[in-house]
Structures are given as C-alpha cells and as structure tokens.
C-alpha cells in the first residue's frame, strides 16, 4: 500500500543542515497497522509529513498503492490535498471556530473532489461520531471539548472520507495515562474493524507493541529493525532495539565454549550467535520479567545466589533489585514475599537470554 524508497529529508538550519530522514526504505502492507517507534527527534514526524506531502524531501520515492506521489528523480510531488491520505495530529488540530459537526463534515463538504449532498453528509457524520463515541456532541463548539474528546473528533474527521492511508503522529501523547490506554484500545478496535491501512508514530514502546501488526524501530533518521512486536521483543537484532523495547539487564563476558559464557555472575548457559567462538567477548541481555526468584537454594544450571537490595511495588507486579556477586539484576515478578536483605536464588532459563557478539 505504502512504499518508501531511499527517502532523504534534510532541514537547513543556521550553521549547517539536519538530516532528519536518511536514505530510508519502508513498506506498509494493505490493511495492516504499522507502528514507527523511536526516541524524540529521530525523525518520525518528518517521515510522516513527507508521506502526507507536508514536507518536501530531497531524495527518494514515495508510492501510495500504484500511484507515485513523490519522486525526486522524476520530479513528481503531489500536493497534500490530492494524496488521499488522512492524518491525526499530535496537537489534534481540531478547528476551534467550528462545531464538532462542521469539523467532522469538513472533508466531505470542502474537499476539492467528491462533494457530497447534505443529507448524505449528515448521515455519514452521524455514523462517524457513533464510531468514536461522540454522538450527541454535533452542536458543541470544538473549542469547549476536552483533550480526549478533541482527539475523537480528529479521528472521526480523519476516517470520514475512508482514506487509503491513515497517518497518526503521536495522537495519544497529550492524554493522561488512563485515557491514553482507553484510546489506544479504541484505535486498535476501530482501525481493525474498518480495515484501514495505518502508519502510526510513537515514542512509547508499550503503545507501539499493543497496536502494531508490524513495527519498526527508528533511530537518527534510519530504521534499525522491522518485525512483529513479539518477535522484536524476544529476539531483537541488536542492543539498541532491545533497549528501546523495554528494560534489560546486561552482562558482559567471555565465551567459554559449550554454549556457556563466563560473566561476573559466574558461568551462564545461553544460546550463542554463530560467529561467537571461544575467547570472544559477548553481551548478554535478559528482561526483568524473565528472571525467576526462589527462596530455596537451587541447584539447576543458570541459578545464582543473591540478596535483595531494593524493592518497588508496582500494583500488578513487584520490581526487585538483586545483588548477585559483582552485578545487580532487576527482576519483575508477581511474588511479593521478599523484602530487602532476603537471601534468594535467581534463576534464568537459558533460552531467554539474548546474546550479541561484542566487537572490540
């Protein structure tokens, strides 16, 4: 549905230029929900705005379906109003001088193409407002709505023309935590039921994983890795990706052969990358929730004796900091019985480790 090839966008600023998007390739399949995850300033919005036609790239090519909407080489650049994509802005951009009805109806009544008769407009707006659970608000002035309600108006406005592609630029980041989760689930539900192709941008890894059919981790204008959320979370391709997707305990060690690595915690059994021969250095990562804690001493492989040094109650889980030899490990578990100073055993299943070769 969307295919981006070798896209580069730079901004001229006093004293040089910023390459916000660098030589980037990306494909989004028809009907899928694609999430771009990356830290602030990595170029997510810029990429989205290039797709929308709001920003003029320097290099590359953008296709929507079969249609070429931007090409540096062929000197093609379709205006935003002709691209048939819809966008939900981070600031909502709900027009404060119009009512909810006028906002949502705008794409039907004011667009260059496909003007609709007013009876049809009313019906469609009604339908869209039901969809975003805002029926009855038609006559309200948009300026009086709450943040969450404005967000729903923006969503209804984006969906009403049944766009080929829906772009969302951190639509949830201005909402409070509870509302954010609710809206997230609603967006997922809505886009799935409508089957609209969606490109969604966020810097929140939980939101990204919850929404995505397929996601990409972006850093410094480039895509580091693309994959399904679960696969990326379990088996990240490199250390940066692992870190973006959640907290990780890292250990450094020397490969001892036989599927083991000598670390400051002791001998760890783990799956080794092909290239890692005995004597080479490796980083080992493990997520806090994959580490198990027991009170009894445990004899199995990959179990280590430790002492609880810190404890944080999170509601649905407890976060412990455990001292194991020279290193400290973060453990997330539903077991609540340990307190600071308790002696415990830390058990890490061998297959849960992610291991990267360290190049000198």
């Amino acid at each position: 549905m969307l295919s981006i090839k070798r896209l580069t966008k730079q901004f001229e600023v006093p004293g040089g230029s910023i390459r916000a998007v660098r030589d980037l390739d990306l494909t989004v399949e028809e009907g899928s929900f694609f999430v771009l995850l990356g830290p602030s300033g990595c170029g997510k919005s810029t990429l989205l705005r290039c797709v929308a036609g709001l920003e003029q790239p320097e290099e590359g090519e953008i296709r929507l379906g079969e249609r070429l909407v931007y090409s540096a080489r062929d000197n093609v650049s379709v205006d935003p109003e002709d691209r048939e994509v819809a966008m939900v802005f981070q600031t909502y951009a709900v027009w404060p001088h119009m009512t909810v009805f006028e906002n949502v109806a705008f794409p039907l009544t004011e667009a260059k193409k496909k003007r609709f008769p007013s009876a049809q407009v009313a019906a469609k707006v009604k339908e869209a407002l039901v969809l975003v659970r805002l029926s009855g608000f038609e006559r309200h002035s948009a300026a009086t709505l709450s943040g969450g309600q404005q967000q729903r108006v923006a969503l209804a406005r984006a969906l009403i023309r049944e766009p080929k592609l829906l772009l969302m630029d951190e639509p949830l980041s201005n909402l409070d935590a509870k509302l954010r989760e609710e809206m997230r689930d609603e967006i997922k539900e809505l886009t799935r039921s409508l089957g609209v192709t969606t490109l969604h941008v966020t810097h929140d890894q939980i939101e990204a994983m919850a929404l995505a059919d397929l996601m990409a981790v972006m850093y410094d204008g480039k895509i580091l890795e693309i994959g399904q959320p679960e696969a990326l979370y379990r088996n990240p391709g490199n250390r940066s990706v692992a870190e973006f997707l959640g907290r990780t305990n890292w250990l450094s060690g020397v490969v001892a052969g036989n599927g083991t690595v000598t670390t400051e915690m002791g001998l760890v059994k783990c799956p080794l990358p092909n290239r890692a021969g005995p004597g080479s250095r490796a980083s080992l990562g493990i997520r806090p929730e994959w580490v198990e804690l027991t009170a009894e001493p445990c004899q199995s492989a990959n179990s280590f004796a430790g002492t609880i040094e810190g404890r944080m109650f999170l509601g649905d889980a407890v976060l412990y900091w455990v001292r194991v030899g020279e290193s400290r490990m973060m453990v997330k578990t539903t077991l609540t019985e340990f307190s600071i100073g308790s002696r415990v055993s830390v058990v890490v299943p061998a297959e849960r480790w992610v291991v990267f070769s360290e190049t000198a």
Partner: protein, 523 residues
C-alpha cells in the same frame, strides 16, 4: 493563609506604584469631566450644562463628527488592507527582505506623524506642492490636479502611517498560529484557497477585528496629520476642533468647558470601543493556540507572486517613508522654493540648518534628548506593576485597573492639560499585552518586539505632547510646529530632518539592544 499574607506584603510596593499610576491616569480624566461642567475663566467659573447643550445643538459639531468618522473609518480600512497581507507575508512567506520590513515599519512608526503630514503638504499642496507644480508644468494644467488639504488627502496620509500599529498587532498573531490547523485542512482534501477562506481567515478574524478597533480608536484621537493637512482649508476632526477651541481664536477666551464636554463624549464612546476590543483580544487568544509541541508555521513559497508582493511592499514604503522624507530633505537645503533641477541642486545651502540653531541654540535638542530617554523608562516603571497586578495577582478589582489603564488610549490628549508623565502613560495600554508575553517564555522574540514597540511609541507620543503643551520652542518638535505655522517651510523642513535623524538613531540603538538581549544566553 499565612503564606498568602507574606505574598501580599511583598506585593505592597507593586500595589503602591500601580495605584499611583492609576491615579495619574484618572486625575486628568476626572478633571476633564469636571471642566466640562464649567464656563468662564478657569478658577472663577460657574457650574452649568451649557457646554453639553451646545454639543448637542451645534451643527458644526455634527459636521466634525461626520468628518471624524469618515477620516477614522477610511484610514483604518486603508491601514488594515495594507497591514494584514503584509503581516501575513512577513510571518509566513518567503517575501524578499522580510527582516527589513519590520525595521522600516518601525521607522514609519517612530517618525512623528506631523513630519509625514508636512512631507505630503510640501508634495501635494495646491500652491507649493512640488508634485502639483511639476504636473501643472508638464501638462500645462490650469490648476493643481491633487489637493492634499482635503478630507481624502488627510485620510490617505493617515492611513499610510497607521499601517505599522496594525502590523505590529497582527504579526505575533500570524507568527503564533499553529500551522497544523491549515495542514489538517489540506489533508482533508481542501484546496489552498478554500483552506484560506474556511480556516486561516476565520481563525484570524477576531485578531483582525481587534486590530481594526484598536486602529480606529487610535485614529479617532490622532491629531498631527489632520492638523497639518486640515487647518489650511479649515477641515476639522474632533482632535483638531478641540485644539482650535483651546488655542486658536484670538481675542476670545479659550473654551475649555466646551472642549472638555466634547472630550468627555468622545471619551465615553472610545471607552466602549476599547472594552469591546479587550473582549475580542481575549477571544483571539483562545483561537491562536501556542503550544510547546505545535510547530512554527512553515514558510510558504510565494512562487510567481513573489515579485508582485515585493513591488507592492516597495510602493508602500516609497509612499509612507521615502517620498515624504525626501521632500523634507530637499526643502531643507533650498534657500527658497524651486522645482527640482540641476539649478536647484546647485543652490543648496545649509542656511536653514544654521537658522534652526541660531534661533534657540542647542537647548531644544538637549531637552528633547532628555525627554526621549526618561519618558519611556517612566512608562515602563509605572506600567509594569499595573500589568503585573492585572495578569498575575488575584487582587479583587484588578479588572477595574485593567480598564482604567486602557483609558488614555481612548482620550484625545489635547483636552487634558497634562503632565509629561501622564502623557507618557498613553502608551501603557500596550503593556498588559506585553506582560502576558513575558510570562510565556516561549514567546521571547515576540516579547522583545513588543518592548521595542513601546519605546518607539512613547518617543512618538512624547514629541506629540510636547509639541502641544509648550508654546515657546524649548523642545524640538514644538519648534518645528511653530516654524511650520509661521509659514517658514524651509526652516521647518531642516528641523524636521534633524528630528527624523534622531528618530533613526534611536531606532538603531534600540534595535541593537534588543538584538543583544534576545540572542540566547544574552540575559
């Protein structure tokens, strides 16, 4: 509660300064009201309603009212029609030399209006206007084709010089507009024109109306251009009529009471408009969301319109600044009137400049210098606490203060026999807006722009006030006014050129200062 007590004690000096500021504003206004019920020699008068009766019955008053309305409406319309597109193109497009536009508008603003009026008179007066004379000679005409001494002439010249205030009100509005509003419209499939009509324009409308009202109230009270261009053919607007009542007639007593009665009526009308203005400003602020995450408006490419836009802007500056100043400079070097020619140039002389000096020495120059340095400072000192109270404190009655602070804008100054400090307060109505900006650190550039504006405006106001209040030419603007009224245009032009020079220097210095302060880390 205890902490609140502490806060209010700390507030005490602020409250004192603010209240004395309010008193300074209110006193002359109350005096005006009082005087309007008096007849006879000041101090020995009797109370009466006669003044108001005369206001109601005098057909001359109604004619002046009509003149004033036409003049104010016409010049406001002209100023807005020019300023709105100009502010928009400077804020949002790739118009060439955008940075210079702000500076040049500052120049137009800071050069006292009566110099512009004099420039136009020297160009287009039916008798001595250079352009008129040239046209007569070129085409062998019977009489002058254009008469600037007319209501439309006044309106035209005033309209040109009201562009800067309108521009400086509108430009932060356009700068602050979140461009995602229009981008959302594009992505809804709307064309550029439709987006402009349905989104940009309505969003800017409250600000446009507010600017219009502001300029209208201003033009209602403006004196300089109508005085220079209206007196020769006895075309009066309110402000010049009041001046006439108090000053001109020889052999009769000045009619303070009548002037005050007219003044009070105008005052009430202006205050009503000012209140409405304040309401609109609040509304426009709600529309123009300036959020941290919102993107600065993207610079729009004017494309093939670029050179056309640039030409229009150039024509404006030629009319508002270059031509009037050029004529003044030309006149200031001539010994007596000549049409521009090689012969005229060869007769150029510094005699007029020397005359200006020998008449009064350096005294007026020095006095003027002191005034224009001290007064803006006083304005800021008194106005800051007022606006701070209005914006930040929870003091009861702060809205009353806000409204009082607005009054001087609405009041024709001539009526009020006023102290300099009071006159300086006229520009204080700008400060509430400015202070709101101070509290939003996001808006640093806008803030400095506004400060700059206050400084320049007080310069202008002061020269104006002084021109009116001192009969003897102890300050420069007054000297120019006297020379001009004595039909010594060459000497007046020389003095005017010097005053414009001072204005230019002041502009450059202020700008320097602002630039230094507004660069990051400059604080």
């Amino acid at each position: 509660m205890a902490s609140q007590g502490k806060v209010s004690r700390a507030l005490f000096p602020v409250v004192v300064v603010a209240l004395s500021g309010v008193v300074l504003i209110l006193l002359p206004l109350l005096a005006t009201g009082w005087i309007s019920f008096m007849v006879g020699v000041p101090g020995y008068g009797t109370y009466t309603l006669a003044n108001y009766l005369q206001v109601l019955l005098d057909p001359f008053g109604y004619r002046v009212l009509l003149n004033t309305l036409l003049f104010a409406l016409g010049s406001t319309a002209m100023a807005l029609v020019l300023a709105a597109p100009l502010a928009w193109s400077v804020a949002r497009t790739d118009l060439p030399y955008r940075a210079a536009v702000g500076f040049l508008l500052g120049m137009v603003l800071v050069i006292p209006g009566f110099l512009q009026g004099m420039g136009w008179a020297l160009m287009l007066s039916p008798n001595i206007g250079i352009l008129n004379r040239a046209l007569i000679e070129l085409f062998g005409l019977e009489e002058a084709p254009v008469n600037i001494y007319s209501l439309s002439g006044m309106t035209f010249a005033q309209g040109l010089s009201l562009v800067p205030p309108a521009f400086f009100i509108l430009s932060p509005v356009f700068l602050g507009m979140d461009s995602s509003f229009e981008e959302a419209a594009f992505l809804s499939g709307a064309s550029k024109l439709r987006t402009f009509l349905r989104v940009n324009l309505p969003l800017a409308a409250p600000a446009l109306v507010a600017a219009a009202i502001y300029v209208f109230v201003l033009s209602f009270a403006l004196f300089e251009v109508p005085a220079v261009l209206g007196f020769p053919d006895r075309i009066f607007v309110f402000s010049t009529m009041l001046y006439f009542f108090v000053h001109i007639q020889q052999g009769t007593l000045p009619e303070y009471g009548l002037a005050a009665a007219y003044g009070s009526v105008v005052m009430i009308v202006s205050v009503l408009m000012a209140t409405y203005y304040a309401k609109l400003v609040k509304q426009s602020r709600r529309f123009v969301t300036i959020t941290g995450k919102g993107r600065r408006g993207k610079t729009l490419s004017l494309g093939k319109w670029r050179s056309l836009a640039f030409s229009v802007v150039s024509v404006y500056f030629i009319l508002a600044l270059v031509l009037p100043m050029l004529v003044l400079v030309y006149y200031s070097f001539l010994p007596f009137f000549k049409l521009p020619s090689l012969d005229a140039v060869s007769s150029f002389t510094f005699k007029n400049y020397v005359n200006v000096y020998t008449r009064q020495g350096a005294r007026p120059l020095i006095n003027t210098g002191i005034l224009i340095t001290l007064v803006p400072m006083a304005v800021v000192l008194v106005a800051m606490p007022i606006s701070w109270l209005v914006v930040r404190s929870r003091l009861r009655g702060r809205f009353v203060i806000d409204n009082i602070a607005f009054l001087p804008l609405a009041v024709p100054r001539i009526v009020l026999s006023v102290s300099l400090l009071y006159i300086a307060l006229i520009s204080r109505n700008l400060i509430p807006r400015v202070l709101r900006r101070i509290t939003a650190p996001l808006l640093k550039p806008a803030l400095f722009g506004a400060w700059f504006w206050i400084m320049l405006l007080s310069f202008r106001e002061v020269t104006m006030a002084v021109m009116l209040s001192s009969a003897d030419s102890i300050v420069f603007p007054a000297q120019i006014w006297v020379l001009w009224n004595r039909a010594l245009p060459h000497d007046a032009a020389a003095a005017a050129v010097m005053l414009a020079g001072i204005a230019l220097i002041l502009m450059l210095v202020t700008r320097r200062l602002i630039q230094r302060l507004s660069t990051p880390g400059g604080f």
